[in-house]
Symmetry: C2
Subunit: 355 residues, 2 copies
Amino acid sequence: MDNTEPEQPIARSRPITARELARRLGVSQSAISRAFTPGTSISPAMRQRILRGAEEFDYHPNAIASMLSTRRSNIAGIVVSEMQNPFYPTLIEKLSRELQREGLQSLMFNITRGSNIEEQLVALRKYNVDAVVVISATVLSGASLRWATEGRAAVLVNRTIPDLPLTSVSCDNVEGSRAIADHFHAIGRRNVAFVGGLPHTTTNLERQNAFISRVAELGMTLTHAVSGGEYSYEAGYRAAMEIGRSRNVDAVFFANDILAIGGFDAFRDGLGLRIPEDIAIAGFDDIAMSRWPRYSLTTFRQPVDAIIEKTIQLINEQLAPGRYLPTQHALSGDLLIRRSSVGDLASETIGPFRT
Amino acid sequence: MDNTEPEQPIARSRPITARELARRLGVSQSAISRAFTPGTSISPAMRQRILRGAEEFDYHPNAIASMLSTRRSNIAGIVVSEMQNPFYPTLIEKLSRELQREGLQSLMFNITRGSNIEEQLVALRKYNVDAVVVISATVLSGASLRWATEGRAAVLVNRTIPDLPLTSVSCDNVEGSRAIADHFHAIGRRNVAFVGGLPHTTTNLERQNAFISRVAELGMTLTHAVSGGEYSYEAGYRAAMEIGRSRNVDAVFFANDILAIGGFDAFRDGLGLRIPEDIAIAGFDDIAMSRWPRYSLTTFRQPVDAIIEKTIQLINEQLAPGRYLPTQHALSGDLLIRRSSVGDLASETIGPFRT
DNA sequence: TTGAAAGCGATACCAT
DNA sequence: ATGGTATCGCTTTCAA
């Protein structure tokens, strides 16, 4: 510690303030504020002068102070839980980019085992986020959610809460799961199974119910309906090892891709089954891995871009002055037929990286 | 619009403030502040009373206002770029959880193509983040980094900048890459290749140089040193297809796991090679996929927990009053020998999920 | 220990 | 179009 400094405090040179800039430029502090606020009444000359001055003195408006006066934080809280499912990092990255485009920075709240949920939600409110996007959170109860989102724009992505008036955007799980069932039927499979992921989640329940009821409608036999317990490769692997031993099943729908990929490896490497000859496989999401030639997984693609676009739009609506009504949106996706269900797909045998 | 309300403005019931709570409880506003600040001089009785009152009237301190007074935001900016590399979502999730434990919320800044980097950095400063963690960012120049981190705690993770006095924490890339080379040598391979990822990144350069020079020291032949151009499955696949055709190579070190996994599929499915008999493969990182039985990838494990712990510690040091000197830290990892290099590993043939 | 009052750095309303 | 000033909600001296 070389405390050779004189009386003068070290004064870790604070950034310059609007007041100070105003003083140096000989204008009012209000002028500074206007220069940085689009759509205010200020002469181009004045604005020019101030912006130039700001450049010179390295002035940047203090967002914190501005938040305090405007009561707008320009921050969106993203509540996240399943980061180990590859679908979500992708979604979150895109979402956060689009939010940025709308002038909202993303504050992340990880809700996972190991983190204190209560504390997280308190933080969410303390930071005064303008908007909350809850992404397929498992653990949050309806009551917590209501509390966390109260009084601010909020959108649930890929999850809904019964009896809670919250806006939500999802992939149409029913459409997708029925499409898978239809596809299994179309390729001549009659003994099908379902492998679930995280129990009690919207995605899981909807996919399971829609699939099973469509299977019944089509007159197919449901040989198994098991739960992996979580959305993971390992869970899919284990479930498949179980199902695959009883040789009476010829098609399996996994509630998402990462489960399906685990199942794929179990069937093929673990049990020596041929895919799709012995057993056809389908997943849900269309994560990058499902396009890998090794797997070439038939799946139902979530319309990620549309989901994000809709989310942004709904946030903007809620942020705008005036009333709004919570609405639920289920967006259409696409069935992607790949080799895990139809081995001889011509378009698939050409190159390794076709959709 | 049912504007049936009387004179009284609609007043979207703002949250209650400290002043108001103080009024209702008949205490001073300062007392409220003290009650919520650990280590302040306030009687237990008073604190009790206030906390109970806060409960009753649903008072929560406004973090924004507090930031303005303290000039502490309790926010850490996390600058991120390679979210498609599975290593990073995991790292980020853990990091953000640990930061939370230290009372720092994570504000994400995605620096990717498609995002306006300049704007991002400006935001980083405007939000007055207390700390910045830059995670293997590619695109940021030294000058930008200096500007973005100036005057606040900053740690670079898995990246260093020559000639820039910034604190950094990395996996020891040199140690790891040499260990891979040693391992190849130990299992009798003599014609080895290197496949790089993102050019000009610290991780890539260090791994490449260390590997190549160790290969030379050991008297092995370097048959190829190619760049995939990015860290991705596809890049690894393509590079492997190229290398694999010339049949004079018996071991390949990929600069990270996701590259290696792409390479694995290319060698095995694309070219029909046997792994490891025909060609041994190693990666770097130890992402979850490398443990999948399908791949069972030999790799060098990054000490994620240690990296995070060190990062947190360094941030705390910098946040504490007083001087600090930027330091560089390279943390030791572990070589994990799996079936992609040693096919008959006894410990590996038992169950599907061994390390 | 407690309360009063002066900031923190912007915004926004009001005159001019 | 510009400047003056109250205000946002909290922290932090300073007295009492």
